[in-house]
Symmetry: C2
Subunit: 189 residues, 2 copies
């Protein structure tokens, strides 16, 4: 049984949280680590139907994700949260609750996001057509002390992935590739 | 790594769901099984604040517990739900979603519950002072095909515990006492 942990992504919409989460999940599974991704949309369907995008509702949503991450990670799972989670205070609340908490800031400038703008949301938000759009018409509080920072405007996905995996290996959260855990530690259920 | 499963208690308030859940959790942990109890009250605080006791709100609450049980049990945890869960349809929804689902009906007559009535709730409910009180002023739909039925009006706690543990052993969900799992299966992470 591996040591569980929570990999908590934060960053603006479109910055690449879900993409990176899926890449990391694949890589972790290849190494025999159990993984669950708590994606913003899936969680809003399963845990937070009816909540909106006010600060209070966003905080409630993020605390619920944190609660589930806590249950998973204390049972040996790598729980990955890929929700925007714009507010610092509630991220820090989850950090304190969960313990094995690794914050990953996926940085990206509004300019780069607007150029990319796959769904056309940034143009609409900049035109004032979307209320409560994080980073434009709603606050985003970047982490002050994230364990890991990547920048999807300046790095390729593969480079960001390597940064995150490198951190997890270096800090002993996951086995290095090709290194089988000893049966003693693997059986420490 | 053990096979995960969900032990889904259902029964009236005061029937003994939480008491039995805690006894089973202790026994499972003694046998090296990872356990999480999703208790009605704890879940209402962490996942369902703001929900009331209408059918719709109760169903939403029960589905959320089911979602968390699914995530836990597919990762090798014995997830125990101890909420009343009065409606059959939503229990069956969770059964289908989760798969490794074992329903435990904690039966107890209203008469026995009223005689016991530790918190005085049944007397109040029977006097019409509590709205939406399951079994009195709100429906309770007993399971039709629960894997396990115990009766806390007729059995001691210890007897009920033995019935549940006996089922889990017989069906191979948990190791028998004193039987260590082989390292192969224990390490099948």
């Amino acid at each position: 049984m591996h040591k569980g942990f929570t990999l908590w992504f934060t960053g603006l919409s479109g910055a690449g949280k879900s993409t990176l989460s899926n890449m990391i999940a694949d890589e972790l599974r290849r190494r025999g680590v159990r993984v669950e991704i708590l994606d913003g949309d899936e969680v809003r369907t399963n845990l937070s139907k009816g909540l909106g995008f006010s600060k209070e509702d966003r905080d409630t949503n993020i605390k619920r994700i944190g609660y589930v991450c806590k249950l998973l990670s204390r049972n040996g799972v790598a729980a990955i949260s890929a929700a925007i989670s714009p507010y610092r205070e509630v991220r820090d609340f989850n950090r304190a609750e969960i313990g094995n908490f690794i914050e990953v800031y996926v940085e990206c400038s509004i300019e780069a996001l607007t150029n990319r703008d796959v769904k056309g949301l940034y143009k609409k938000a900049l035109a004032g057509e979307i209320k409560n759009f994080t980073g434009i018409s709603d606050p985003y509080e970047a982490p002050l002390n994230a364990e890991i920072t990547v920048n999807s405007g300046k790095q390729t996905k593969e480079e960001s992935l390597a940064v995150i995996m490198g951190y997890l290996e270096k800090e002993g959260w996951i086995p290095k590739p090709g290194v089988k855990e000893s049966s003693t530690s693997a059986c420490r259920a």
